[in-house]
């Protein structure tokens, strides 16, 4: 407690918030006590450091946003951009290459930032679409400074891993199968984080860039299998104007965010029949989040957002999930995998608050890294 009061006094002193009397008392104390003098010096340095940190972090964000806006407006195009219909493996190897560059610059610790990479969507007019995967700051975790390791870091992301992308996802089988967008998984490995903030390791089972659907499987002894999943997947086409809602993790602090809206068109961008157009407050990081109707039936997955028009987003139709599951049965690597999609919704008549309360435990934040 005393320490806190002292720290408060030092901050007040340094920021010039003390009255003349307080100030002269404090200065007398400082002269008399070398420990206090030392603390003032140390705190001055610390405040300068955190101010630099704040400046760089804020500018970094600003500059990334500027870059992304200009990119989306078509100011530049990447000459080496993958054009169309490429398998995700090739995308991964591209990112591996970038990772290889990320090595220490001189000092014992180096930090690299990377920003939101906007993929020009394959079969669409890319410049107008921005995929909603989260801008991830890439931090090289390089900790071994003469044996001093911060024991408060408890992440399951391996040391030296480079975070590539992130988004949202949801459970579709109690055994730990999660659906998300393929573009959320730009790295070659992934972890998922549940609504309580617990990290779990996951395997990338399948990712299809065409439909933008990916399947993850939680492989972690800390994972507690739920008995059942409260929502079901709607196979039929939904109605125009139907009310919808979503839960996702658009924010960096990993808090779950609820938004609602309505289905604004039965086809997506340029009449794409595989997607819906929806009116909802979707943000980067909402990519891969589920779209539910009022009966808590899953009708789609948020995928891309049209630039410039606030609130307009697109969702991959839920029927595509079923198609993907069917196609997995025919693939050599996945044919023995038994995935049972939830058959019934136990919360279809519940009030929204109760629905959200049940659903949130099945929503995951996804981080992909190399």
């Amino acid at each position: 407690m005393e320490d806190i009061q002292l720290l408060e006094a030092i901050e007040k002193y340094l920021s010039g918030e003390m009255s003349a009397q307080e100030r002269s008392d404090f200065e007398a104390l400082r002269k008399k006590t070398s420990e206090i003098d030392q603390m003032v010096v140390e705190h001055t340095l610390f405040l300068q450091q955190i101010e630099w940190y704040a400046q760089r972090k804020n500018f970094n964000q600003q500059s990334q946003n500027t870059f992304n806006e200009l990119l989306a407006e078509g100011e530049w195009t990447a000459n080496d951009e993958q054009s169309t219909q490429f398998k995700i493996i090739q995308l991964w190897s591209k990112y591996k290459k970038v990772t290889a560059i990320a090595a220490s610059v001189g000092g014992f610790i180096a930090l690299f930032t990377s920003f939101l990479v906007m993929y020009l969507s394959p079969s669409l007019n890319g410049t107008q679409l921005m995929q909603l995967s989260k801008a991830v700051e890439v931090i090289k975790k390089n900790q071994q400074v003469q044996g001093h390791i911060l024991n408060e870091v408890k992440t399951k992301i391996p040391e030296n891993a480079k975070l590539i992308s992130g988004g949202s996802g949801f459970l579709i089988d109690t055994k730990g199968f999660i659906i998300t967008n393929a573009h959320v998984l730009k790295g070659n490995s992934a972890i998922v984080i549940n609504s309580k903030g617990q990290e779990l390791k996951a395997n990338i089972v399948y990712a299809d860039m065409n439909s933008d659907i990916a399947l993850l499987e939680i492989k972690d002894e800390d994972f507690k299998q739920p008995k059942s999943i409260p929502y079901t997947i709607r196979k039929k086409i939904s109605d125009l104007g139907e009310e919808i809602f979503t839960l996702g993790y658009p924010r960096n602090d990993n808090d779950i965010v609820y938004s609602k809206g309505y289905l604004s068109a039965l086809t997506g961008y340029n009449g794409d029949s595989g997607t819906y157009q929806i009116q909802i407050g979707a943000n980067p990081g909402n990519s891969g989040a589920p779209i539910f109707n009022n009966q808590a039936e899953l009708i789609g997955i948020i995928s891309t957002r049209q630039r410039q028009t606030e609130g307009v987003a697109f969702a991959v139709k839920a029927s595509k999930i079923i198609d993907v599951m069917e196609s997995l049965k025919e693939k050599e690597a996945t044919k023995d995998m038994v995935i049972k999609l939830p058959k019934s919704s136990v919360i279809s008549n519940s009030a929204r608050k109760a629905q959200l309360d049940r659903i949130k435990d099945y929503m995951y934040s996804i981080r992909s890294f190399n």
């Binding site: 955190i50 101010e51 940190y53 760089r56 500059s63 500027t66 530049w76 610059v105 180096a110 911060l150």
Partner: protein
């Protein structure tokens, strides 16, 4: 004055305006800098074994270097912005190529460059300090991390933070802030002293 001389003066004035804008986080200045200078870097990196993403990363780092340089009281830029940004990018890219074992000398480019060795050293130190602060903040956990970020990064007042985090009053929030701050300082200085 000759017309040429006037045009040179105009260009210099324009650069000064841009740099002042950058120092104040003016979004138009940042955008103008990206628009006029990124293409050169993109061209350079893509012609020297790099990708679009590499160019973007390198350029972002150079922008940070310039931004932090214009913040200094002692700031003087002895060359054109274009030359400065290019010189930083060239060095950073060369370093990365070496780390990848892809080094091919000389890097092909017709751009003019100046010595930026001193600035790069300053930048490396700042990178290290930034990483330490970042890690310290990220290992604090919630609500400490968001509380301190709200106060020091987003410059929110104690009352606003009290409302946001559900503290009954600003004094409670302040108390919590100081508790968090003590932990952050401890984490930060464990690492920082070693590095210095």
């Amino acid at each position: 004055m000759s017309e040429i001389r006037i045009n040179i003066l105009k260009a210099e004035l324009n650069e000064q305006v841009l740099l002042r804008g950058l120092a104040q986080n003016d979004s138009q200045a940042v955008e103008a800098l990206y628009k006029s200078h990124f293409p050169v870097i993109q061209h350079f990196v893509e012609n020297n074994n790099g990708s679009f993403d590499d160019a973007r990363d390198i350029f972002q780092e150079a922008m940070i270097a310039l931004y932090e340089k214009v913040q200094l009281d002692s700031f003087v830029l002895t060359c054109q912005i274009k030359t400065y940004l290019f010189s930083i990018c060239k060095h950073l890219w060369l370093k990365r190529l070496q780390q990848m074992g892809k080094y091919s000398n000389p890097l092909s480019s017709e751009e003019e460059s100046v010595s930026v060795q001193e600035d790069l050293e300053v930048m490396e130190k700042k990178d290290a300090a930034f990483a330490i602060m970042d890690r310290a903040l990220n290992s604090l956990g919630e609500p400490c991390k968001s509380l301190l970020e709200g106060y020091y990064l987003n410059k929110k007042g104690m009352q606003e933070l009290a409302n946001q985090f559900g503290y009954t009053n600003a004094d409670n929030a302040k108390n919590q802030k100081y508790k968090c701050l003590m932990r952050l300082k401890k984490l930060f200085f464990t690492q920082y002293n070693i590095g210095d």
